[in-house]
């Protein structure tokens, strides 16, 4: 869980970095250059397979944990005051993860399947597939924008627990480094989803 989680966390940084190109170029050509590189570089394509496997493994591990942990307490408490000693999101990782999975299905069918399988219909001025146009079209739908923003809230809470938790699972606990990991994890969990959530809003508002 920890290893696959950290792997997916690293992916988020790369994804966020490349997508943030949309903020710096109104025509979207810069973003399309990035997308073209990601779509054609053989190393990236190989990593895409590893990423999918990592995601599936993360889901499998999560489901396994949920079922094992449910079995460990067959009879529930009549009253369990969970909020007295732990955060709600640390106790709801399965739920947050499920919301993220639902989002991912929508998200991948929106962009990933088009760019990989069905093909992007238009090309931009540089002759690159115009994924930016695809983005503009998708994010003109307010419901989709709302879904994306809510999904990023789920992601933020998922990461708020998951980031430091991954290190704890791997036993990487140290007087000096653990406070740094926790602080870095906190800001990472806020900033990355915030930047992601800003993208559909930015495009919808046509800023």
């Amino acid at each position: 869980m920890g290893l696959t989680g950290l792997f997916l966390i690293m992916f988020l940084a790369v994804h966020c970095f490349l997508n943030s190109f949309i903020f710096f170029d109104k025509t979207g050509e810069l973003f399309n250059v990035g997308a073209h590189f990601m779509a054609t570089n053989w190393l990236i394509r190989a990593m895409e397979v590893v990423l999918m496997l990592g995601l599936l493994l993360h889901i499998y591990q999560g489901l396994r944990l949920v079922f094992m942990n449910k079995a460990a307490r067959p009879e529930k408490y009549a009253y369990h005051n969970g909020q007295a000693n732990s955060t709600w999101y640390s106790r709801s990782m399965g739920l947050l993860g499920t919301l993220l999975l639902i989002f991912l299905i929508v998200h991948l069918s929106d962009f990933w399947t088009t760019s990989r399988f069905t093909g992007i219909p238009t090309v931009d001025a540089n002759g690159h597939e115009d994924l930016y146009a695809q983005m503009k079209e998708s994010f003109s739908n307010i419901y989709l924008v709302i879904l994306y923003v809510l999904a990023m809230v789920s992601l933020a809470y998922h990461l708020l627990h998951g980031f430091a938790s991954a290190f704890q699972t791997l036993g990487w606990n140290h007087n000096k480094y653990t406070p740094i990991i926790k602080a870095f994890g906190f800001w990472y969990s806020i900033l990355i989803p915030l930047i992601f959530a800003a993208m559909p809003v930015y495009i919808y508002l046509g800023l």
């Binding site: 094992m68 942990n69 460990a72 005051n81 640390s90 627990h161 704890q168 791997l170 036993g171």
Partner: protein
């Protein structure tokens, strides 16, 4: 003080239990929670009813015997104490208090509020010891141990095996208990020869007992009456991964 209690009554492992309401009056705020139960039980005996069975022994917070899941938390609303150290002044006159046994597959209910915690004993028996004849006590400082190391081992050794960590964990995981028992030996020179075999055997036994997995919610650390730290769990994870991937320790 007048208190309304909702107490879990269950005849034995095989029948279903349920919460039963009891009213207790004339409770002094200076009574411990267990003494309040003594008053209730005397009352029940006088009325010819079956008294409530609950675990208790030293009543001074060092034996780990008293359990009780009080108002949704093990050992009640205060932190760093056992149920015998919980006083009625922590509640208000007229309060309703829900009292349940520890709940986990590995801790089956024996009767009412008493659960079978021998799963912990079997985890200890799987490796929580050192297999040498210790002989007479050595001279002090014969074996130099750095002070922070000795302190950390001592803090881990404070675990009284009460099971509050399992009780409060949403996964009924015993990681805090097992990690304390692993750490108290892993930190000291005497524990080194069997260090990596021990962690594997104890974790294997923990899993075999049917405890859940750790998802790092940190609830156990908050509820532990002895303040056992999550650092112990990280240490155990580290030793376990080390044993599985790096060291070639045999394990039985």
């Amino acid at each position: 003080m007048n208190i309304t209690l909702k107490v879990w009554r269950q005849k034995n492992q095989n029948v279903k239990g349920n919460l039963v309401d009891y009213k207790v009056s004339g409770i002094s705020p200076d009574m411990s929670f267990l003494e309040m139960f003594d008053v209730l039980n005397e009352d029940l005996i006088n009325k010819g009813e079956e008294p409530i069975v609950f675990d208790h022994d030293c009543r001074e917070g060092i034996c780990g015997m008293c359990s009780m899941f009080i108002n949704g938390r093990p050992h009640g609303p205060k932190e760093g104490i056992t149920t015998c150290q919980l006083h009625m002044r922590s509640f208000k006159d007229g309060d309703t208090i829900v009292v349940e046994p520890w709940r986990a597959k590995a801790f089956p209910v024996i009767k009412d509020l008493v659960v079978d915690r021998t799963a912990f004993d079997r985890v200890i028996a799987a490796g929580g010891f050192i297999s040498v004849n210790t002989g007479n006590a050595q001279d002090a400082n014969n074996l130099p141990i750095p002070k922070p190391q000795a302190d950390a081992a001592f803090e881990a050794a404070a675990c009284i095996g009460c099971g509050a960590c399992v009780a409060t964990c949403k996964n009924a995981s015993a990681m805090l208990f097992v990690s304390a028992k692993v750490s108290q030996l892993a930190l000291l020179p005497q524990g080194q020869p069997e260090r990596y075999m021990r962690v594997q055997n104890m974790v294997a036994q923990m899993d075999a007992e049917g405890f859940g997995n750790c998802t790092n919610t940190g609830a156990c650390e908050v509820e532990c009456p002895k303040g056992i730290s999550l650092e112990n769990i990280a240490r155990m994870n580290r030793d376990y991964l080390n044993a599985k991937f790096i060291k070639e320790e045999q394990f039985k």
